[in-house]
């Protein structure tokens, strides 16, 4: 007797997100269809519509979950007791590790979306992510480990360098084996500058 599945799935929303992330990881965002997801989860082709009004809504949810995990990873890598350079290196390493393990997801997270409502949540998630870096730099500035000056500017330089590395990885221009060893040098050069001293 084919144990006919119950009419209600139980937690279709999570199941869809899980399947979506697996497909995303395995086949890329291009080959990710609601209908295929529905099939994988064993549900009719229109069922996802109950949980995501749009395909874009599902992608947004996926990206949001990604930010959640990223923020968590960054928090875990935080050790306020460390001096600046190793502390920043740890943070960078965590970010790049995430980028390596979730390249396709990261692309989604970077993608510009104009959904006016989802943007709020998204912006908050981004802000939370960026917060880790801001804290490190603010602390360092407070302790005199780095120069004074507009913190926004310092956040921008450091954030751009990290984000750029992640971009290189996500784009496949930088292999994981090359990226992680490079992070040490990256942070060092960021802190000490390129000019001779």
């Amino acid at each position: 007797m084919p144990e006919s599945r119950p009419y209600h799935h139980g937690d279709l929303r999570s199941a869809l997100l899980a399947a979506a992330e697996r497909t995303l990881r395995e086949k890329g965002v291009g080959s990710l269809s609601l209908r295929e997801l529905a099939r994988e989860v064993g549900v009719s082709h229109a069922a996802p519509g109950r949980h995501f009004k749009d395909k874009q809504a599902l992608l947004n949810a996926l990206a949001l979950a990604g930010y959640e995990r990223l923020a968590q990873a960054l928090d875990a890598a935080e050790d306020p007791a460390l001096p600046l350079e190793p502390r920043l290196t740890a943070l960078a390493r965590a970010y790049l590790t995430f980028a390596i393990d979730n390249a396709e997801l990261l692309e989604l997270m970077y993608a510009r979306k104009h959904d006016p409502d989802a943007s709020e949540q998204m912006a908050a998630a981004v802000e939370r992510t960026v917060g880790s870096l801001e804290r490190v730099l603010a602390d360092a500035q407070k302790r005199g480990e780095i120069i004074e000056g507009d913190p926004e500017e310092l956040n921008l330089v450091t954030g751009a360098a990290l984000h750029g590395m992640a971009g290189f990885i996500a784009a496949g221009w930088l292999t994981p084996d090359a990226a992680l060893p490079g992070v040490e040098g990256l942070v060092h050069h960021l802190l000490h500058g390129l000019k001779p001293r």
Copy 2:
């Protein structure tokens, strides 16, 4: 008498690329369909297939043209006579200006593609683009304006910072008005580092 267009368009390929870039700029990559392009250009829905085997092939061509224009813009911003800091600033400004004016196109250019054949051309285009930066840094190193050490590492830091800024812009996290003034500070901090000296 509706001047019935000649059976052969004349330069359909270019027309398609032009229309594609316009659509890309106005409505984003999401709403870019071969059929719609064909309509805009006044040609049957399957005609594009003669010039691009795939939708991806068209996107690749678009990205390739983007790299061409970017490399050109970077070359134009090059002034080997300048000392390092203003020279690098000019280069950065050119890159970010391109990012501002071609945010959607840039997304395409960053997108990872696995087409084994197109990758060669693409890699060459990327390499040519990156070359501008490499030249600046190599010259500076030769002149003793920056520290010695693995040029690859220096290229990586600087490239990542620029790429990251462009990413911020393309993602809409950084408004154009905030980006260009920031470039001066960015380059300065890159060269002089964040640590007090």
